[in-house]
């Protein structure tokens, strides 16, 4: 016998069509401020800069168009070429070394280490510091007269030479050192999180198959961490491309302009050099570069995931 319901719950206050429509429109409504702001403050400003790059603007924006002139000047500018080469060196090394250190430390930390929390915090803390602080500290440590070189000299090894900071050919590598120091801990955290998310039965299965630990990590675990590599590379390239504070604080692009980076080039030409048109052109070139590298990568990664 079916149980008869004596107390039917209060019926839901019948909603008006207006409220139902709201439910459909609410998500769009919620997102719309961000959409508008993004369109204006990201894309609008990029278009504005694009327009500016075709003008002869110097001191402040002026809209007298000169065609591709600023781009021609840019490509003939030695400092710009140096800055772009530096970005490739800096970005490439920075990303590669951060990934390497990050992965290794994460794997090591994942071996049921005592005091893991403390070690993890030590690796992570540089991320909390501003580039001004990092730059100031490293500038001092890397200074041949004051820092590391001096320290080793005092220890008795007077032949020791570590003058990268003041060496035109090596200055860009000091940027790599400081940037890696600052960001590799974060990469470690990403990978550690990724490792924690992997089903341990995979490792057990591989061990039963007779695979050695390094081999398990190399051929089973790392491929599983592909999404983490993706996130890490995106975040690291974002840091590399935007590296501005660090260069300003550590080398100011020097000696000469040997450690200049595009962001610094753009900033100084736009604001202190009175070459706003040229600065805008360099900004657009930077964006084009970012797009050229990132879009194919994003596309292949995201598409691959959809198929999987």
């Amino acid at each position: 016998m079916p149980v008869t319901h004596t107390n039917t719950p209060a019926p839901l206050a019948s909603t008006t069509p207006w409220q139902d429509k709201m439910q459909v429109w609410l998500p769009k409504l919620i997102l719309s401020p961000t959409i508008v702001v993004t369109l204006i403050c990201v894309y609008g400003f990029v278009i504005w800069t694009g327009l500016l790059s075709f003008t002869k603007s110097r001191f402040l924006p002026q809209f007298d168009f000169v065609g591709w002139r600023q781009y021609e000047r840019l490509l003939n500018n030695d400092r710009w070429i140096t800055a772009c080469e530096n970005l490739l060196i800096f970005g490439g090394l920075f990303i590669a070394i951060c990934l390497l250190i990050g992965v290794l430390l994460a794997i090591f930390l994942d071996q049921k280490i005592q005091q893991e929390g403390m070690i993890r915090t030590i690796y992570l803390y540089p991320m909390a510091l501003s580039f001004i602080v990092t730059g100031t500290a490293w500038k001092w440590i890397l200074n041949p007269g004051l820092g590391l070189e001096n320290l080793v000299h005092q220890m008795g090894f007077t032949d020791f030479k570590f003058d990268w900071l003041v060496n035109s050919d090596m200055a860009v590598y000091t940027l790599v050192i400081a940037a890696v120091w600052q960001s590799s801990g974060f990469v470690m955290a990403l990978f550690l999180a990724g490792l924690r998310g992997i089903d341990s039965s995979i490792i057990n299965a591989a061990q039963i198959d007779g695979a050695s630990k390094p081999r398990i990590y190399w051929s089973i675990i790392l491929p599983c961490l592909r999404p983490v590599f993706f996130s890490a590379i995106i975040i690291l390239s974002h840091l590399a491309i935007k590296s501005f504070d660090l260069v300003t604080a550590l080398t100011s692009g020097g000696p000469g302009y040997s450690s200049d980076l595009p962001a610094l080039f753009m900033y100084s030409h736009s604001f202190t050099r009175g070459q706003m048109g040229l600065g805008a052109a360099s900004a657009i070139m930077m964006l084009a570069g970012i797009l050229a590298i990132l879009v194919p990568y994003l596309y292949s990664e995201l598409r691959g995931k959809r198929n999987a």
């Binding site: 110097r58 200055a171 000469g256 040997s258 100084s268 009175g274």
Partner: protein, 413 residues
């Protein structure tokens, strides 16, 4: 903030028509300079105005310029900003600067300030900025004790310079203290170029941008000597601030520094006496020549009456002999007024003032391109790039650099 300003303006408008707020953007944050600005602040406050300080240090005002540009674009320009040289013309051309002719007339600036300086302060023959001081850039600072120890004499020309430098080096003293920033390298080069080219050709090259001079033989010679000087600096110069370099001379770690007269403030602050603990002589071979660098405040157009009154008072105050004296004593420069009592100033400043007056008539008074006096920031920046790259890189010849210098100047014109 706007409301607050409005409120302030309203309250003051009732009582006194002259009280208002000045917001001053500057990059004078280091000791002597900051003290000097503090004096100005105090003097303004005595007149009933309020002072809002907007100090942004770093890179010879690079950050400050960025801030200024964004503030102007946002329609919220400060009352006054530390702008100098050619940039004053740029701002005035864009019609952002206020007309100070009334104050200038009332205060008689034309009579007390030499025309070399007032020309820079005027756009379209109207005053838009107020000069604060005159720096002489082509100074050589030396530590006599270090020279004595090395058995060297303080040089008066380039040949002597290298003789003395060799002796200092042999005595284990860094001959030339140098800071590794583009503007410091340009300052050094400027002093050399002034000697090699002479005042007339210096002007042709860096003010009129005569291509023949820019890539001429003399320029190549100047570049060669400039590079030769690098051999007498220490290796760790890169990124070093000028005052650290000065400090090397103070402590006797280094023998000499070629730097503008603001370096004097550092010696004084360290308790050193001019002529005894340190000497100031013109950069080698530039006796009688004067590379000037004039600091100034440009006044931005204001909507608010109180602010305008305060602005005029600020302009007036800056050029009062009292402020000129205090400020320049702190900063190491000489007053822009030529009618002042200089009894409190030291010998370096007196020398400077004499040369200033004399060179104004002889044609040896030239604007410093390293400090934005001679040309636009675009050309100045382009020249910085070429010079700093040449100075710090071993694989480019003096001749190529001279050609490149001409090319980039032409490109940036």
């Amino acid at each position: 903030m706007k409301l607050k300003t409005l409120f302030l303006a309203m309250t003051f408008a009732a009582g006194s028509a002259t009280a208002g707020e000045v917001e001053v953007l500057h990059w004078w944050t280091s000791g002597g300079e900051a003290k000097s600005v503090a004096v100005l602040k105090q003097m303004m406050e005595q007149q009933g105005h309020s002072w809002k300080d907007f100090a942004v240090a770093g890179g010879g005002g690079e950050s400050a310029m960025t801030v200024l540009k964004t503030r102007v674009v946002s329609g919220n320009a400060p009352t006054a900003a530390q702008i100098k040289g050619h940039d004053i013309q740029e701002w005035a051309e864009l019609d952002y600067l206020a007309n100070l002719d009334t104050v200038a007339k009332k205060e008689g600036w034309e009579q007390s300030v030499p025309s070399v300086v007032t020309d820079i302060m005027k756009y379209d023959s109207h005053y838009v900025a107020v000069p604060v001081n005159v720096h002489r850039v082509n100074w050589l600072w030396a530590n006599p004790a270090a020279f004595k120890k090395a058995g060297a004499t303080i040089p008066t020309n380039l040949d002597e310079f290298f003789v003395a430098a060799d002796k200092l080096k042999a005595a284990g003293i860094i001959p030339l203290a140098q800071g590794g920033q583009p503007w410091q390298e340009a300052t050094l080069f400027e002093a050399v170029a002034l000697e090699i080219l002479g005042s007339a050709d210096y002007r042709k090259a860096f003010v009129d941008h005569d291509m023949a001079v820019l890539k001429g033989k003399k320029m190549v010679e100047a570049l060669t000597i400039f590079k030769k000087m690098k051999g007498y600096t220490d290796q760790a110069a890169s990124g070093r601030d000028w005052n650290i370099a000065t400090n090397m001379v103070i402590t006797g770690q280094a023998g000499m520094q070629i730097m503008g007269d603001w370096a004097k403030g550092e010696f004084i602050a360290a308790g050193k006496k001019p002529g005894v603990d340190f000497v100031c002589v013109p950069a080698p071979g530039t006796q009688g020549q004067f590379t000037f660098n004039v600091d100034s405040f440009a006044m931005f157009k204001q909507k608010d009456k109180g602010a305008m009154a305060a602005q005029n008072d600020l302009a007036k105050t800056i050029l009062t002999p009292e402020f000129q004296e205090v400020f320049n004593l702190n900063k190491g420069s000489i007053p822009v007024r030529t009618d002042m009592d200089l009894s409190k100033f030291d010998q370096c400043a007196l020398d400077s003032m004499d040369t200033f007056k004399a060179s104004a008539t002889s044609g040896d008074l030239v604007p410093s391109f390293a400090h934005g006096m001679a040309t636009t920031s675009a050309i100045q920046g382009a020249m910085y790039d070429v010079l700093t790259n040449y100075y710090n890189s071993d694989n480019i010849s003096a001749q190529d650099t001279a050609n490149l210098l001409a090319d980039v100047v032409e490109d940036a014109m």
